[in-house]
Amino acid sequence: MSVPQPTLPLDDSAPSRKRYRQKGRYRGDHLLLAEMIEPNSKVLDVGCGDGDLLQLLETRGVDGRGIELSREGVNHCVAKGLAVVQGDADTDLVNYPDDAFDYVILSQTLQATRQPKAVLENLLRIGSRAIVSFPNFGHWKMRLQLLVGGHMPRTENLPATWYDTPNIHFCTIKDFVQLCDEINVKMERSVALDLYGRPLRFNAPWWFWNMFGEQGVFLLSRVEKTK
């Protein structure tokens, strides 16, 4: 039986983002993320890549900082005048003080961390709000590839094979919502985006998003502890 192979994008011009992302082409969520952030706030972008989002935010008066694992990414950011340090979400977030930022962004990076739960907790310790976006492994194409093809799904946005993918902790939108409940995080806004980074129908039920959202974007805040 022949298995239909997903077509892979040929764009190899983007520099390797190593663990954080593989392709620099698709970043349809940037505008949406920027829109979630109040002007003139202080923002930390974890896994900021080439700094495109930080640049967009700085045009809106945001005081932005970044962490990026790859040296190439850091160099690009410094060249753009951005304040970016070379570092790792798994090991370096612990060094940031509490409440240092208004927002901490983790864009398309959660699935590449070793300890997503600890990272998420750190985001909301450092920032009063966190914005997290990630590819939804519950998308119907993923499900179909596993169900019919019997192989680990590969898509246009996630073209790596299982043995060389940097994404070691895939989750679905449903999984992520459960994690947020577990660690007492409040979801202020949640949006599912299609392949092109456009928001899906706003009032759709969870199961619809979990089936048809290419990625989930969540604006999170801490639940203040009640005594």
Partner: protein, 401 residues
């Protein structure tokens, strides 16, 4: 008898001695009305600072970059050295079209207090006695060096430095500038350095000092009066220190186990191996241009350096609320000032809310990488200064927009 070679005596000792009081440089003198207040409690006066400048200061005085030199560096950043005749120590980075572009910026570099190339130090003449200071010179610190530089910058009529740049001990001065004069530093580029000297580094310095002091020609520091120079001890100190500036990989790549001008071992203590010959050369060329007592004082200054100690042990407190833009750079194979030290600095800057970039450059060339041709480092330095210049409103010609 087994063939033995040791480090030859300095050939240019007289040239160097002359530079201590009468440098081939610009000199700023400070009289007894303007003492340098030292951390040890002594007011040093009169004193002088020898410095070099490159490029033009713009009308708004907003394009000045202070370069801070390392332990055995001096103010001759980008000109032929008056004693050795060799090119400046940072011509890779400073010059027309280079990252520290002399067509755009006004570059200042001064010899540190305690140095031996024209700023007041143990090799200078003590005006009270008419003889060389020697060990009568007060022990100085990195903050003392920076305080003296600030007096020079005042003298030059510059309020805010566009940038302060330096590696190793120079990087320590950069960080000290940012902690002591945050409003006077628009941007800072501390390279391969730390906010405190580690125990291992203090240990290496002690080794060097003991080598100098064990040389019978050191004469308790009075070698100038007694017409000797502890070139063997200073040479050994330099050889040991030089090893710490390199890396195992760099030494292996450069020398391996190759023999020097021979194919078989001589069964002696001659320099059979290339690496031995190289180290001896490093030792002997160093003693030609450097004063032994100065080496004791400057290594001591580095040992005492600990910014956090001056802020109740909280490093972040030293940088809290700073508006300076930082770009911290480290090198992967640097084991003297390893990346972990730079990361600690970055964490403190972040905790203090500073605007900081940090890049670790991949190279096998060890601590010395900051002095060598490492394009990735140049790219970072260039990009950082360009973007800072943009924020400062500097045009390509270094003028204000």
């Amino acid at each position: 008898m087994v063939n033995v070679q040791s480090i030859p005596g300095p050939a240019h000792a007289e040239d160097r001695a002359l530079e201590a009081d009468h440098p081939t440089s610009q000199v700023a003198t400070f009289g007894s009305d303007q003492p340098l207040q030292l951390d040890c409690g002594i007011d040093l006066a009169p004193f002088q600072i020898a410095y070099q400048t490159y490029g033009e200061l713009n009308a708004g005085k907003s394009n000045a970059i202070l370069v801070c030199h390392a332990l055995t560096g001096d103010q001759h950043v980008a000109n032929v050295h008056p004693v050795t005749g060799k090119p400046g120590w940072w011509v890779t980075l400073v010059g027309p079209g280079k990252p520290l572009d002399t067509d755009k910026y006004f570059i200042i570099c001064s010899n540190v207090i305690g140095g031996c190339m024209g700023s007041t130090g143990p090799a200078s003449t003590n005006p009270a006695t008419g003889t060389v200071w020697g060990l009568d010179f007060p022990v100085i610190t990195i903050p003392d060096m920076v305080r003296a530089q600030a007096m020079l910058i005042d003298r030059l009529g510059i309020d805010t430095l566009f940038s302060v740049v330096g590696g190793s001990m120079g990087g320590m001065q950069v960080l000290q500038w940012c902690a002591a004069y945050p409003r006077r530093v628009f941007s800072a580029l501390p390279i391969a350095c730390s906010t405190r000297h580690s125990a291992q580094n203090i240990a290496f310095h002690e080794l060097g000092r003991q080598a100098v002091m064990a040389d019978p020609d050191w004469r308790d520091g009075r070698y100038v009066e007694q017409g000797t120079h502890p070139h063997r001890g200073l040479g050994v100190a330099r050889m040991a220190a030089h090893i710490t500036y390199l890396s195992d990989a760099a030494l292996h790549r450069k020398f391996g186990r190759r023999m020097q001008d021979r194919e078989l071992p001589t069964f002696s203590f001659d320099a059979d191996f290339q690496v031995e010959s190289y180290l001896r050369h490093q030792g002997s060329s160093f003693v030609e241009r450097f004063d032994a007592n100065s080496y004791l004082y400057l290594t001591r200054a580095m040992d005492y350096f600990d910014i956090a100690a001056d802020h109740d042990g909280v490093l972040a407190a030293a940088f809290r609320g700073t508006r300076t833009r930082f770009c911290v750079v480290s090198f992967t194979s640097d084991w003297l000032f390893p990346t972990s030290e730079s990361r600690a600095t970055v964490h403190a800057l972040n905790a203090g809310g500073a605007r900081v970039s940090f890049a670790e450059i991949e190279t096998d060339r060890g601590h010395d990488a900051f002095l060598l041709d490492v394009p990735e480092f140049f790219d970072i330095a260039h990009a950082f200064l360009e973007s800072a210049g943009h924020s400062r409103g500097l045009t390509a010609a270094g003028e204000l927009r």
